[in-house]
Every structure is written in C-alpha cells, then in structure tokens.
Symmetry: C2
Subunit: 248 residues, 2 copies
C-alpha cells in the first residue's frame, strides 16, 4: 500500500469544483482500509461516507444460510454510503473491503450538509448512484444468464479498473464468495484463463497478462456497466473515466 494518498485520487472528489473542495476537503480523514474490514453491516446507521483511493469495497448480501453474493463494487470512481443522502441511512447489505488500500472518510452530516446546498456535489453523487444501479442491474442479469467463466472475466475487469496495477491480491476462495459460487468453480475457470495465457496466478495473487482477450471472453455485462459509468460520470469526454487519474 503506498501511503500519503491525495483526496483527488478519488475521482468523485477530484471532479468537484474548487469551491466545493475548499468546503469539504478540510473535513476528510485519511484512513487505512485493510482487506476484510467491514465498513457497515445490514441495518447499521451510517456515520461516515468513504471515498476509496486505491482499494475496492464490495457491497454484498449475506443470506440466512450464510451464502453470499456481491451486488456491486466501489473503488476510486465512487463512494460508500449513498444511503446517507438517499435518506435511508442504512441498507440491507454489507460493505466489505475486498482489496486493501486507503481512502478518505467524511462525517455523514458534513456530506449531507453539502448535498443540501443542491450544487455540483449533489448532481455528481446522484449520477454516481445511477451508475451504481446499472452495476446492480447487470449483476442480476449476469447471475441469471452467464457461466462462471464469463462472470470471472467480468469480475476481474471490474476489479482491474479500480486498481493502480494489473495484479490483484486475492484468493480464489474470496472470489468465489463474491460471485456466490463454489471455490472449485473459480479454480476451474481461472485454470482455463491461465491455459489461454490471459492471466497468471500463484497463491493469492492474480496478474492479468492479456486484457483485450479478457474483455473478449467476458460477457457483455462488463461493457454495459463500463459504458454507462463513463457516460454518467464523464459526460464531457469520450475518454476512459477510470484511466483519467491512473498513476503512471
């Protein structure tokens, strides 16, 4: 984990106009977000919103049986805790750090105060929320219609977009929990991708070698989410939203 992150590494914070940044940034707290940290549980009244810079947070639902399924992921393009400004103050899902790193947190009432100014922050976080809904929708579609092989490709691509390098620190067991499938299913799918030369992995680490091929092997779900996120959050440019602040 590189230290001393900047708030502007988070793409939402980066995009705020200077006067909003002046109001908000003094209250941001730099905070480590290690793998496995739970930002909130179902029903928890939220006290903070989190702006990831180089980590990934999964929103997932855990069933009565203990089985789980990932609903969406949040990285540097977004924020965790939308229910604070949506009005619900809690959700029925859990927010779990899936890839460790850093982020900034902001007291809930500070965010709500700025939201209530009805300015650029409000517009931005609402558009982000719509992008998140697209991701949730497509997760539902993907769970219904696509094979584990395809879903693993989608998942790797979503993760890759949110990370500064082309490797993930991640066990197959953890991926299986996210996708809501058996670990053995992930082993088999990952084995195929390795045979094809698309990824290379060792214990707890996956490196993506051939990203274009990975996109070909993925179902359409990744592209739908990516395109819609670019459209909603980066309307002025056809450029890749995630790449726009990627460190060299």
């Amino acid at each position: 984990m590189p230290n001393a992150p900047q708030p502007t590494q988070n793409l939402l914070l980066d995009k705020l106009p200077p006067e909003v940044q002046e109001r908000v940034f003094p209250y941001l707290e730099e905070i480590p977000l290690p793998l496995g940290k739970v930002l909130y549980e179902p029903g928890d009244k939220m006290r903070y919103v989190y702006f990831p810079t180089d980590c990934i947070v999964s929103l997932l639902y855990v069933m009565e049986s203990g089985a789980s399924a990932e609903i969406s992921v949040v990285g540097k393009e977004g924020l965790v805790g939308i229910s604070l400004f949506m009005g619900g103050e809690s959700t029925s899902s859990r927010a779990l750090v899936q890839s460790g790193g850093w982020g900034f947190r902001l007291a809930g009432h500070r965010l709500v105060d700025e939201f209530n100014r009805h300015g650029e922050l409000m517009a931005l976080v609402l558009r982000y929320t719509q992008a998140l809904m697209t991701q949730m929708s497509q997760t539902a579609v993907c769970n219904r219609h696509h094979s584990i092989d395809q879903q693993l490709c989608r998942w790797l691509l979503l993760s890759l977009d949110r990370l500064p390098s082309n490797h993930l620190v991640m066990t197959q067991e953890l991926i299986a929990n996210m996708l809501g499938v058996r670990r053995e299913g992930v082993t088999e799918a990952a084995g195929k991708l390795q045979d094809l030369g698309v990824i290379e992995y060792r214990r707890g680490r996956i490196e993506v070698i051939d990203r274009p091929r990975l996109e070909e092997l993925s179902c359409e779900c990744y592209a739908v989410v990516k395109k819609e996120t670019d459209r909603l959050l980066n309307p002025d440019s056809s450029e890749d939203w995630f790449a726009s602040k990627k460190p060299a």
Copy 2:
C-alpha cells in the same frame, strides 16, 4: 380496467404534502398503460415520468442474444423514470407494462422543477429510489441462489402487492420472460403450487388462494424487499405500506 383513477391511488403522489400536490397535480395526465406497452427503451432520453395506479411496470434488461431478465417492478408504490432526477436521463434497461391498467404521467421538466425545490418530493423520490435499489440487489441475490420454485413465489408476491385484487392476468410464458427462465420451468413450478392449493390458474390467469403459504414457500428475498420498502416509505407506521390505500 376500472376507469377514472385518482392521482392519490399512487402512494408517492398520495404522500406528498398538500402544497406540493397543488403544484404538481394540475400537470398530471391520466394515461392508459396496457399490457405490453413500452415506456422507454435502453438509451431513450426520457420525456415523462409515470406514476402507476393499478398496473405493474417491469424494468428489464434484454441481452444481445434476446434473452431477458427482470431487474425490478414498479407499481402504485413508485414511479417509472428515476433517471430524470438522478441526472442520467436514460438507463440501459427497458420499461415494459407487465400488467395492464392506468397511471398518470408528468412531463419530465415539471418533475425536475419540483425536485429542485429541494422539498418533500425530493426526499420522497430519493427514498423510493433506495427502495428500488434494494429490489435490484435482491433480484441479483435471488438469481444466484434460489430455485425457480422460490423465485416464482417471490415474483407472485411482489406482483400481488401492487394489484388491487388477488388475481393476475398473466401467461406463464410472460412470467418466464420476466424471470429469465424457460416457460416449461414456470409450468412445472406453477403446477406444484396448484397441487399444494396455494394458487389456481387457467389460461392466462392466476389466482392466489393461500397467501400465507406462498410467503412460507418463497425465499427470504421477498421479505427483505418488503420490509425495506416499508421502512423507507412508511417510516411513521409499522403498517403495511402497500395495503394502506388498497381499494375495498
């Protein structure tokens, strides 16, 4: 279809404070929403929002292959066209009338104007949007983990809550399209429910006989969505939100 619906049959419109109703209601247009009508296609810039009174609108995604999957349903508890105030102006899904009836529509700019007053309407539609997200999330979970039998129960219950009586005018083929499964799978699941005395059906019509039993047979997904919707939209009361305006 009964005619001459009142705007207040839609629970969101009903819940608005009188002064907001006075501003908004004059611009509402009563509109028939027959089975199969498409309110918008993916990417369509929305011109109206729709407030169903006694019909059900499905938000669904249609894949390149032509296969489809329902993301969520909207009835008298909600509105169709949230992307107007979320800022995206379009979505990647299709809105299709799944059970015919009536509703009211409002020009998009009228809704946005009222939303921008930052009053009760904004708070209400944002909370509704969060409820919709819960439904989308749970659809993803349900698609991953639950059997067709369980999903059919969930789907029947979601529909029933939004309809004025205990029967649905609906072919098994249509249900299969919504759930994203084969029609034969629905036939089998419906046959089991009929054998159990939970429902009765003939060509294109399903009557729910034993709703409590249906809730028992359903997966937890229905209850999660129901409880969260009640919490978000009916915070002052522990009463059933959907039943609160149900005609006798």
